[in-house]
Symmetry: C2
Subunit: 344 residues, 2 copies
C-alpha cells in the first residue's frame, strides 16, 4: 500500500504536525510519500529518506517539487507534461487548523481522493469545544460543566480554580489554570490571542484522566489499550510537543474491567457514524466512577500509535475499508417537469 502523508497546514499546530508525520516512519510499515503543506498552502513532495524537522524550519523544503491537486490525483508539473503521484490513500496528519477543522477533508472529498481522517462534520464537532460538548450531551455522554464567552463578554467567576481554553485549539495551546481573580485577565488575554471565544471550566485538581483510541471497521470496533497519561497540572505545549513524536508502546492503565468497559461504551457512542474513516483518541475524566468526555482528538498526535499493539495493520485495515459516500443521482427530473408545465 502506498500512503501519502499530508502534514503541516495553516495551523497553530503546524510544527507538531511535522513531528507527528516524521514519527510515522517508525510505525507504518508500508511505503510512505510525504506531502508538506506550507504556510502559503502550497504542497511539496519531501523525499521520505531525507525528511527531518529542520528542513521546514530552515525553509529548505522549497527545494523539492511543488505538488498540485486535481480530480483523483496529486501531480507535479514538468516542462513537457505533468507527472501524477502513484498512491492508494492519504493520511491527513495536519493537526489543528486545515487538518482537524474540515478544510483538508473537504478538499479530498471534492477531488475524490480516498483519505483516512475525520469527515467534515466530525471535524467541526471535535475541533470546537462548545460543539463537542453539545454533541456529547445530546448523546447522553457527560462533560464537565462550562461557560462559553466571547471577547466582548464580561467574565464572572464564582469559584476558583478554573481552566480557560481557547474554543478551537488542541495541544494545550493558550490554556491556563487560574487560581484567583488576579490571574484572570492575563489568562483571558492569552486565550483570546488564539481564538475570539473561550470555554471556562472548573479545574479539578488530581482528576483521573484516561485516554482511549480506536476506530470502527466494517461495523466492528478496534480499541487501543487505555492509558493514564502522565500526571502534571496539565500538559504544556513543550511536553505535548515531545509526546507527538511518541512511538514506543504505552503502559496499560491499572483500572477495573468495569471502568474499561464504561470507557469503551462511551467511545462507541461518540464515534457513532460521525467519525467513520478516522482513528480517534478520546480523553476522558473519571470522577467517582462516572465517565466524562474531556476531548475528542480526531487526528491524535502521532495517530496515538503508541497505544496500539499493531498500529500498522490496523491502519492498513481501516485504509482498505473507508466509508463510501451515498450515490446521488442527478436526473433533471424536476427541471424537465417544470419545463413541461410551462409548455416550453
Amino acid at each position: 500500500m502506498k500512503i501519502i502523508i499530508v502534514f503541516g497546514g495553516i495551523s497553530f499546530e503546524h510544527e507538531i504536525s511535522i513531528v507527528s508525520a516524521i514519527a510515522m516512519k517508525d510505525v507504518i510499515k508500508d511505503e510512505l510519500i510525504y506531502l508538506f503543506l506550507d504556510k502559503n498552502r502550497d504542497f511539496y513532495h519531501i523525499p521520505t529518506n531525507i525528511i527531518k524537522s529542520r528542513l521546514f524550519s530552515l525553509g529548505e523544503y522549497t527545494k523539492y517539487n511543488k505538488v498540485y491537486l486535481s480530480k483523483k490525483s496529486f501531480f507535479t508539473k514538468g516542462v513537457f507534461s505533468n507527472k501524477t503521484i502513484d498512491f492508494d490513500v492519504v493520511l491527513n496528519l495536519s493537526h489543528g487548523g486545515d487538518g482537524e477543522d474540515g478544510i483538508l477533508s473537504s478538499l479530498f472529498e471534492f477531488y475524490d481522493i480516498p483519505y483516512l481522517a475525520p469527515r467534515v462534520e466530525a471535524c467541526s464537532i471535535s475541533s470546537n469545544k462548545f460543539l463537542t460538548k453539545a454533541y456529547a450531551l445530546s448523546l447522553n455522554v457527560k462533560t464537565i460543566t462550562y461557560k462559553y464567552y466571547n471577547k466582548n463578554d464580561e467574565v464572572i467567576i464564582n469559584q476558583y480554580p478554573i481552566i480557560i481554553k481557547p474554543l478551537r485549539l488542541g495541544s494545550s495551546i493558550g490554556v491556563s489554570i487560574v487560581k484567583n481573580k488576579d490571574e484572570l485577565e492575563y489568562a483571558l488575554d492569552i486565550a483570546y490571542e488564539f481564538d475570539n471565544n473561550v470555554i471556562i471550566e472548573p479545574f479539578i485538581k488530581g482528576i483521573k484522566e484516561y485516554n482511549l483510541a480506536g476506530c470502527k471497521i466494517k461495523d466492528e470496533f478496534h480499541f487501543s489499550i487505555v492509558e493514564e497519561p502522565q500526571k502534571v497540572d496539565f500538559l504544556d505545549f513543550d511536553k505535548k510537543y515531545l509526546d507527538f513524536s511518541r512511538t514506543s508502546t504505552a503502559t496499560k492503565a491499572d483500572i477495573s474491567a468495569n471502568l474499561e468497559e464504561k470507557l469503551k461504551s462511551n467511545f462507541k457512542i461518540l464515534y457513532n457514524e460521525l467519525f467513520e474513516g478516522s482513528i480517534i483518541r478520546c480523553d476522558f475524566f473519571v470522577v467517582e466512577d462516572d465517565v466524562y468526555l474531556n476531548e475528542i482528538n480526531s487526528i491524535p498526535g502521532s495517530m496515538a500509535n503508541y497505544l496500539f499493539d499493531d498500529f500498522s495493520s490496523l491502519f492498513k485495515n481501516l485504509a482498505s475499508n473507508l466509508p463510501k459516500k451515498k450515490q446521488i443521482p442527478i436526473t433533471y427530473e424536476y427541471v424537465n417537469k417544470i419545463q413541461a408545465s410551462k409548455g416550453k
Copy 2:
C-alpha cells in the same frame, strides 16, 4: 461589484440550486458571473445573458468554458495561456450537498477566495438535523422533541402522527408524515433512500410556522420581515421547487411585536458568531407563544431575497464586510527549540 454565483454540485438539491441561481438575475443589481458545478464536479462558466434551466437538463452547458480553481482565482485554460476571471466575491448558491455541507466553503477557504456563505462549522451544524438540535439546545433555544435512528435500529413509535426526515436533507426531500403503524415502513424506506439516519418528531397539525431571514454585518443584525409560509401539511418538493424561484416580495405575518422580538432574539442567539459571512433563514414553530427552532437554512432558496426590502444592497453590504480569519503565525519556534535541546 463583480459576483460569481457558484451553483449545482453533487446534491439531491442540484436542480433547485439552478432555479435559485437564475432567480438572482432579478434581485442582484451588480454584475453576475455564473459558474455551474456539474455532477462530475467540473466548473463551467455559463454566460449570464443565456442562462436557463434547460441548458443543464439537456447537457448543453458542456459547450461553455470549463473553469479551474487555484489560489485566489478561477481561470479558463487557453492554448497559449490561462485566463483568470475577474471577480470580487463568490456567492455559494449550491443547496444541500457540496454547498451546505461545508465542502465548497472549505474549498474557498483553502484557495483564499472571498465567499458569501456559511463557514464550515456553520455548515455542519445546519445541514445535519441532529447537530442542529444539539447546537440549539446548548444555546437554550427550544426544539421539537425527536428520536434519532440509523438504518439498522428498530423503530418504536408510541404515538402517531409523526414526521420522518432524512438526517441531512433540506427541501422536504424524503420527508413523510406518518399517521399510523401501517404507513411506517414505507416512510422509513423513503427516508433511508436519502440518508442512513433519520430524525422522527411528533407531527403537530396546524402548528404555527414563521420564517425569518437575516445576517450580522459589523456586529449589527439586519433582519427581513417575518413570513408565515403558506399552510399545507408540509411543503412537498414540487411546491418548494417553485418557491426557490421566488423574487416577489412576501407578505409580513400578522403577529404581535412581542412575538416578532422573540423570534429575532432566538435568531440572534443561533446566528451567534458561527454563521458570520452568511445570510440565513431560520424557520421557527410557535406553540402557545413559545418559540421552537425547526431548521436553519444556511443557504436559503433564492437567498430568501423575497423577505427583504432591498436584498441587493444588503447583499453588497455583507459581501464588503466578510469575516476575516485570525492570522496564524508559523514561526518554527518549537522545532528550533527541540533542535537546540538535541544539540543538533
